[in-house]
C-alpha cells in the first residue's frame, strides 16, 4: 500500500478485509450506510441514534451487527484523518482506493465527503480549545433613584452578567458599568469586530 493522505501511521490489518466486505454491498446498500455514517459525523453527540440506525441497517440487510461495526470503524478512519488534515475529495477517493475499496464506491464516498466537509470542518474548529469561553451575556440597566448618602440620584447604571466556561463548569461574573464606560466598551467591541473580520 502506497503512502496514504489521511494518516502517516500504519493502517490496522483488518482494514483491507473490511474494505473487501464493503465491496460486496450493492450500490444502494452502500449509499444507505454512507448516509448513516455522515449523519453521525455531522452530529457526533447522537451516539445512541447512530448505533440504533446501524442495528436497523444490519437487520434489514441480513448482516451481522458485529462485523458491520468493525467495517464502520475502518471506514471512519478515513474521514477522521481527512478532517484533521483538510484533505480534498480527490485525496479521500485516492485513499479509499488504496485501501481496497472499489472505484465506484470510493468516488461516491468522496462526493458525499465534498458535500459534508464544510459542516464537518466547522464542527472540528468548534471543538478547538477555548480559554474561559464566553458562553452567554445577560444585561439590565436602570436608574439609581436614591441612596443612603444621596436622597435623589437619577444616574443610569448598566449591569452585565457574563457566563464564562471555566473548564467544564460555568461561572457567573457580575459587572457594573457607568454610561461612559458602556459607550467606550461598545466602541472597543466594534473595533474588535472590524479586526476579526479583516482576518476572516
Amino acid at each position: 500500500m502506497g503512502l496514504l493522505n489521511f494518516t502517516r501511521d500504519p493502517v490496522p490489518e483488518a482494514v483491507s478485509g473490511d474494505m473487501h466486505n464493503l465491496n460486496q454491498l450493492s450500490a444502494q446498500q452502500f449509499s444507505e450506510l454512507t448516509e448513516v455514517l455522515f449523519r453521525f459525523l455531522t452530529e457526533p453527540k447522537e451516539v445512541e441514534r447512530f448505533l440504533a440506525q446501524l442495528s436497523d441497517f444490519a437487520t434489514m440487510n441480513k448482516i451481522s451487527l458485529g462485523p458491520l461495526k468493525n467495517i464502520v470503524k475502518s471506514i471512519l478512519l478515513v474521514p477522521n484523518g481527512a478532517l484533521k488534515r483538510n484533505l480534498s475529495s480527490e485525496q479521500v477517493r485516492a485513499d479509499f482506493i488504496a485501501l481496497g475499496l472499489s472505484e465506484e464506491k470510493a468516488s461516491y464516498f468522496a462526493e458525499q465527503w465534498k458535500v459534508n466537509s464544510p459542516t464537518l470542518t466547522r464542527l472540528a474548529v468548534g471543538q478547538t480549545l477555548m480559554i474561559n469561553q464566553l458562553v452567554d451575556m445577560e444585561w439590565k440597566f436602570g436608574v439609581t433613584a436614591g441612596s443612603s448618602e444621596l436622597e435623589k440620584v437619577g444616574s443610569i447604571f448598566l449591569q452585565l452578567k457574563l457566563v464564562v466556561k471555566k473548564g467544564s463548569q460555568l461561572e457567573n461574573v457580575y459587572v457594573e458599568l457607568t454610561l461612559p464606560q458602556f459607550y467606550s466598551f461598545l466602541h472597543e467591541m466594534e473595533r474588535v469586530k472590524t479586526s476579526l473580520e479583516s482576518f476572516s
Binding site: 488534515r85 464566553l134 448618602e149 461574573v173 464606560q181 466598551f185
Partner: protein
C-alpha cells in the same frame, strides 16, 4: 446617612476656637470623607489643634460629619437652604463661613458619595487582543481568528475600604459570540437613546 441631632449645633460652635478659616475648611473635608467608624481617630488628631477636650473633639467631629453628610443627602444647592438649618442663636460669622465652605465643596462631595455608593463589582479597565489559531489537535492547519478580552473588575469599594481588590478576568470570544454580544450591546444603546429622548 447621618441625621442632625440637637447637640450638634452647640458642638459646632467649638469651631470658633479654630486657628484659621483654612483649618475649619480642612476639618470639614476630613469629617465629610471619614466613615463613621474612623471619626474617633480623627477627633484625636483634631482635638489638640482646637484646644478642646477629647470628649468635646469627638462631639465636634461627629457634628460636622452629620452636618456635611446631611447637606449632601438633601442635595442642597443654595445658601438659603443651608443657612436655614442653623438655629437662631448660632454665631453669625461661623454660620456664614460654614455655609461658604459647604457650598464650595458640595459638588465634589456629591461625586464622592456617588463613587462610593454600593454597587456590583465595577469595571475599571478593559483590554483586548485578536489571535489567529493556526493549528490544534483536531485540525492540523487552520486560520481562525479569535478575540481575547481582559476585564479588570474592582470589588465593591465599601467592602474593601482603602484596599480595593481588583481581579482580572480573561475571556475568549469567537466571532459568532462577538457578533451576538454586539447585537445585545446595540440593543442597549438603542434603548438608552429612547430613554434619553423621552
Amino acid at each position: 446617612m447621618a441625621a442632625l441631632r440637637d447637640g450638634d449645633f452647640a458642638a459646632l460652635q467649638m469651631l470658633l476656637k479654630a486657628p484659621s478659616k483654612d483649618a475649619v475648611r480642612q476639618l470639614c473635608q476630613e469629617c465629610f470623607s471619614s466613615p463613621p467608624a474612623a471619626l474617633g481617630p480623627l477627633a484625636q488628631r483634631a482635638g489638640p489643634g482646637l484646644a478642646v477636650s477629647a470628649e468635646e473633639a469627638e462631639q465636634l467631629v461627629s457634628a460636622l460629619h452629620n452636618l456635611t453628610r446631611h447637606v449632601v443627602y438633601r442635595g442642597f444647592t443654595g445658601a438659603e437652604d443651608i443657612l436655614c438649618l442653623f438655629p437662631e442663636n448660632f454665631h453669625q460669622n461661623l454660620k456664614n463661613l460654614l455655609t461658604k465652605i459647604i457650598l464650595e465643596n458640595i459638588s465634589a462631595w456629591r461625586n464622592e458619595a456617588q463613587a462610593s455608593q454600593i454597587s456590583l463589582p465595577r469595571l475599571v479597565d478593559m483590554d483586548w487582543r485578536v489571535d489567529i489559531k493556526t493549528s490544534s489537535d483536531s485540525i492540523v492547519r487552520m486560520a481562525v481568528p479569535t478575540c481575547l478580552l481582559q476585564l479588570k473588575i474592582q470589588e465593591d469599594a465599601a467592602l474593601c475600604g482603602n484596599n480595593p481588590v481588583v481581579s482580572a478576568l480573561t475571556v475568549e470570544l469567537s466571532k459568532e459570540t462577538l457578533d451576538t454580544m454586539l447585537e445585545g450591546l446595540g440593543r442597549i444603546r438603542d434603548q438608552l437613546s429612547a430613554v434619553a429622548n423621552k
